[in-house]
């Protein structure tokens, strides 16, 4: 799957892309072929009320519904909402959400690496843990930097990585003796420390080979750290009649249209030879850094290591250069904004991005203040658009967000105590397995798997709906059973028992608290009447416990729950 990055005609050529151009972040901007678009008039955003936004922020930042105490505290007061928002970014659950959000962009949470769990003689029960751990290594490092309120530049300058017990066992990592879970750790194989740039997890995802010579990794850091997607440039061989005779490597260094891109690609590729391996699928080759190979660029690439013209000496120097690059700062802002707005950045967002960038700089490049600033923007708070909103904005703006598999799993677990796992694997967090008796459902629910889905969908699909239905039914019956028949249920049903009748006050109170808790609003009489009637019909068809399970399932599947 590795490609030789031979970028011919980088500046345009004959090729014309029909509908899309990319922003720096690799996101899409609509405009007519060959012209820059006119600025789209800013839409008049209609912002949500305090309770709606409280629910949105809580799900985005913590992956859980707001508590009753928080709902009561905020009430309808936007100032109090902002106070709670400021507290949320310091919640411990932020880390898990950040890992999910970063995974959508960095695409490292794939199911198949070139080195697999059985290469380490791990039992099949640990396959999922292995793949998840490898893919999350760089994501955890970034999340750690944010949670610890460190400058974002640390993701490329840190002299540590993040590891859990498994990675500490498998890789040459000095994992803390008394450590538990993900901890800052240090590689012991002599590799330099340059944050994500020196993590196995990143380079196991973005692999290279003998022909590619690390060029794919240059493309990856350009896209991920600078929002500069060099692969989106047209590469046309048309018109280069000497290409076959000249040879590819020669063309890269001599043909002007190749040189225009490769002049900056080759010098960066040169610093990755410590991670370069002449043999694929070899564990010992992949897990260790090879300092003795750092100078192999002299044999393989006809360019000395440099960062866009400035000479560099190794990965630490590369990390510093990235950190000092203004594109890196802007890219960090674009990525976080896109993650929280749940859409790509458009051309008419640039003034907002500029303002957020200034905020980011003013706060020493720390992400938490930036996240707070983003959550105060109109696109984040919008629940609808005014009638006179520009059609382009109407087309692109996401005024309601759909739960994807990661968030859905987290909310269902937290609220209903139901975890859809099999052989240790979160079924909404994986897809395929080496062994055929365990497969997951992430892609079917629209989850980003790094290959077949690389952007979270905004609209429901048939398989999204069916997955939601099945999980809702399982969670509903699980929670009802646990709450009504045991003492250690999740506490979803707090007023009723199996003999409570619809005419009882507790019945009505239960429905009201469910509506407030799950949807963040008080129900009207019509809803109470209709859901009561549903319970009665379900109870007639089965029993009270199944009826309560059915009511919970119905409420989960309701758009009021699945969107936020």
């Amino acid at each position: 799957m590795i490609s030789l990055i031979l970028a011919m005609a980088c500046t345009g050529g004959e090729y014309s892309d029909p509908v899309a151009h990319q922003t720096d972040s690799g996101q899409s901007i609509h405009h007519a072929e060959g012209t820059l678009p006119d600025p789209v008039p800013a839409a008049t955003y209609i912002e949500g009320d305090a309770q709606t936004l409280l629910r949105r922020m809580s799900l985005d930042i913590r992956g859980v519904l707001p508590s009753q105490a928080e709902r009561e505290r905020v009430g309808a007061d936007m100032n109090l909402l902002n106070a709670v928002m400021n507290e949320m970014v310091h919640d411990a659950r932020l880390e898990e959400r950040l890992v999910s959000l970063f995974a959508e962009r960095w695409l490292t949470r794939i199911d198949v690496f070139e080195i697999e769990f059985h290469d380490y003689f791990l039992p099949e029960e640990q396959e999922y843990e292995f793949e998840k751990s490898v893919g999350e290594e760089p994501l955890r490092l970034m999340a750690h930097v944010v949670v610890e309120d460190r400058p974002w530049t640390e993701i490329v300058t840190a002299n540590y990585t993040m590891a859990n017990e498994l990675l500490g066992d498998l890789w040459p990592i000095d994992y803390p003796d008394e450590g538990e879970g993900w901890q800052p750790s240090v590689y012991t194989d002599g590799r330099p420390g340059a944050g994500v740039l020196t993590t196995n997890g990143l380079w196991w995802r973005y692999v290279t080979d003998v022909s590619n010579k690390n060029r794919s990794r240059v493309a990856a850091i350009n896209k991920l750290l600078l929002c500069n997607d060099i692969l989106s440039r047209p590469v046309s061989f048309a018109g280069s009649s000497s290409l076959v005779e000249e040879g590819t490597e020669s063309a890269i260094n001599n043909l002007p249209y190749c040189v225009s891109c490769h002049a900056s690609i080759e010098p960066i590729a040169g610093v990755f030879f410590g991670f370069w391996s002449p043999m694929q699928y070899t564990r010992i080759e992949y897990e260790r850094y090879h300092a003795e190979r750092e100078l192999m660029w002299q044999d393989y690439l006809d360019a000395e290591p440099a960062w866009f013209g400035e000479p560099i000496e190794g990965l630490v120097d590369l990390g510093r250069k990235v950190a000092d690059d203004s594109r890196f700062q802007r890219c960090g802002v674009e990525q976080m904004t896109s993650a929280l707005w749940r859409r790509s950045i458009q051309m008419n967002d640039w003034p907002t991005i500029e303002a957020l960038l200034e905020e980011f700089k003013a706060n020493e490049l720390r992400m938490k203040p930036l996240m707070v600033a983003i959550m105060q923007t109109s696109p984040y708070r919008a629940v609808s658009l005014a009638e006179d909103a520009h059609e382009d904005t109407v087309e692109s703006e996401v005024t309601t967000r759909m739960m994807g598999p990661s968030l859905f799993h987290q909310v269902i677990t937290d609220t209903f105590g139901y975890q859809w796992t099999f052989q240790g694997a979160d079924q909404l967090d994986t897809d395929s397995s080496f062994y055929e008796d365990r497969v997951g459902y992430r892609v079917l629910m629209g989850g980003v798997d790094g290959h077949s889905i690389t952007t979270p969908p905004k609209m429901p699909s048939l398989t999204w709906s069916i997955t939601v239905r099945r999980v809702a039914q399982a969670a509903g019956i699980h929670a009802a059973t646990a709450d009504l028949t045991t003492d250690d249920g999740p506490g979803v049903l707090i007023y009723v028992n199996e003999s409570t009748e619809p005419t009882d006050t507790q019945f009505n109170n239960e429905l009201i608290q469910l509506h407030e808790r799950l949807y963040g609003s008080t129900p009207d009489a019509a809803w109470i009447e209709s859901i009561t009637e549903l319970w009665i019909q379900m109870e007639r068809a089965s029993n009270p416990l199944t009826a309560w399970g059915g009511v919970l399932s119905t409420m989960i599947r309701d758009p009021a729950f699945m969107t936020y």
Binding site: W420, M459, S465, A541
Partner: protein, 425 residues
């Protein structure tokens, strides 16, 4: 060589009964179905489709020679009897398009371009566009078979993924929920029916109060997807959505059989199969390019089975299914004319495609490579190579797909891009 290490991940069988639905009888392109077979990894088109013997600086395959069968000019070699046999049998129903450029040399980007015509992420692939413009409300508008790719922006709701290991049936029959560390018993059918009816009523009442905009669009799509999902669950008893297990690699013919079953039943307009070569060894032959021989033999054996299967089936509109189905076989890139140090071939931006069946003017090879192995311009109407012709791009292929489906390609391709009319009957 690029071995995926999940070759042994076999496909399990499951049952789904999908009865023949009521559908509008729409003749011509608007009733045409499409089976797309993506040979992901980059095939060496010069081994079958695009003769390159005249490129003096290229490294040529031993024993290869130009041959012709039923109007198709192809590269023959005694190592590939299945290829020759296929063209001798079905060449008059096949059209080869050569010298088409896909302007990238990375697999992911080339796949995006050949499937959507664009490098941007704000575009839908051709099958999704076709499925989205179908007037019938099909349950499985664009069926993506195990491991297949789908790229979406506006029409994600038209795509139904079976799953990399055929997971969808497990969701439909709810066995997925019993394969869980917290196994639960699903509610009885009548309780589920009450739940579904309540949900649909809630969606309808919300829609009645909503103005146009994103929120309304979301709700409309949720309504459709949950209704179709419910219908699919209700019907899940007879017709398998999971192909027969293969001993090694992707069994293209059994995947196609599932697609044809769905075509026949009227549930599906498009289907996508991804074929990663013999035993999943992979088409990306940076080393050992001779492995492409195995892939082509395997592929054309499957294609023979597919065409034979298609000919035996009744169509949705009363005739033969073969009259209603167009098959497109393509790869996202080609391979370099010269061998590298590992007897492999690196990436090349020019590739070929083969179209078969309904609406296709068979028995012809269009386009070709010049003495530098670059694509030659083609008269889109006649298919002749001519200096005044058009350099073929992936968008021309996409425009042709859309035209075959009676869809105006203009909104989906760059200005000036036209279908390759010579391909079409």
């Amino acid at each position: 060589m690029n071995y995926t290490r999940r070759d042994i991940l076999a496909l399990s069988a499951a049952g789904l009964l999908v009865p023949r639905p009521l559908l509008a009888s729409t003749p011509g392109g608007s009733g045409r179905k499409f089976l797309f077979i993506l040979c992901y990894g980059g095939w060496d088109a010069s081994m079958v489709f695009a003769p390159r013997m005249h490129v003096s600086s290229a490294d040529h395959e031993e024993g290869a020679e130009i041959a012709e069968a039923k109007g198709i000019t192809f590269v023959d070699n005694e190592t590939r009897p299945a290829v020759r046999s296929f063209f001798e049998t079905f060449g008059d129903r096949a059209c080869i398009v050569n010298g088409m450029e896909v302007p990238s040399i990375t697999h992911e980007m080339c796949a995006r371009v050949i499937l959507t015509g664009s490098k941007g992420t704000n575009s839908d692939d051709w099958p999704s566009v076709v499925a989205a413009h179908d007037e019938s409300n099909r349950l499985l508008p664009h069926l993506v078979m195990s491991g297949g790719q789908a790229m979406n922006y506006n029409y994600a709701d038209k795509v139904v993924r079976v799953g990399s290991a055929g997971q969808l049936p497990s969701l439909l029959n709810a066995s997925a929920m019993s394969d869980s560390n917290m196994a639960v018993t699903m509610p009885p059918p009548d309780v589920q029916a009450l739940e579904q009816a309540f949900l649909e009523e809630r969606i309808e009442s919300r829609l009645a109060a909503l103005p146009s905009g994103f929120r309304r669009q979301w709700l409309e799509r949720y309504r459709t997807s949950t209704q179709n999902g419910s219908s699919l669950i209700d019907l899940s008893d007879g017709l398998s959505l999971v192909p027969e297990a293969s001993s090694c690699g992707v069994n293209v013919a059994s995947n196609a059989k599932v697609a044809f079953d769905c075509f026949e039943a009227g549930h599906t307009r498009c289907a996508m199969i991804q074929y990663t070569g013999f035993c999943n060894i992979g088409w990306d032959t940076h080393e050992s390019n001779f492995n492409q021989v195995l892939h082509y033999e395997d592929l054309f054996t499957y294609l023979t089975d597919i065409m034979t299967d298609l000919d035996t089936r009744p169509g949705e509109l009363g005739g033969s299914l073969a009259d209603e189905v167009t098959i497109a076989v393509f790869s996202e890139m080609g391979r370099h004319p010269k061998l590298n140090n590992w007897l492999g071939r690196d990436h090349w931006t020019f590739t070929s495609a083969m179209l078969l069946g309904s609406g296709v003017r068979g028995g012809q090879s269009i386009g070709g490579l010049d003495s530098a192995a670059l694509g030659q311009p083609v008269d889109l109407t006649s298919g002749e190579v001519t200096d005044s012709g058009t350099d073929l791009q992936a968008q021309h292929l996409g425009a042709t797909f859309l035209a075959l489906a009676d869809i105006d390609p203009e909104p989906f391709v760059a200005p000036g891009i036209q279908p390759i009319l010579a391909v079409m009957q």
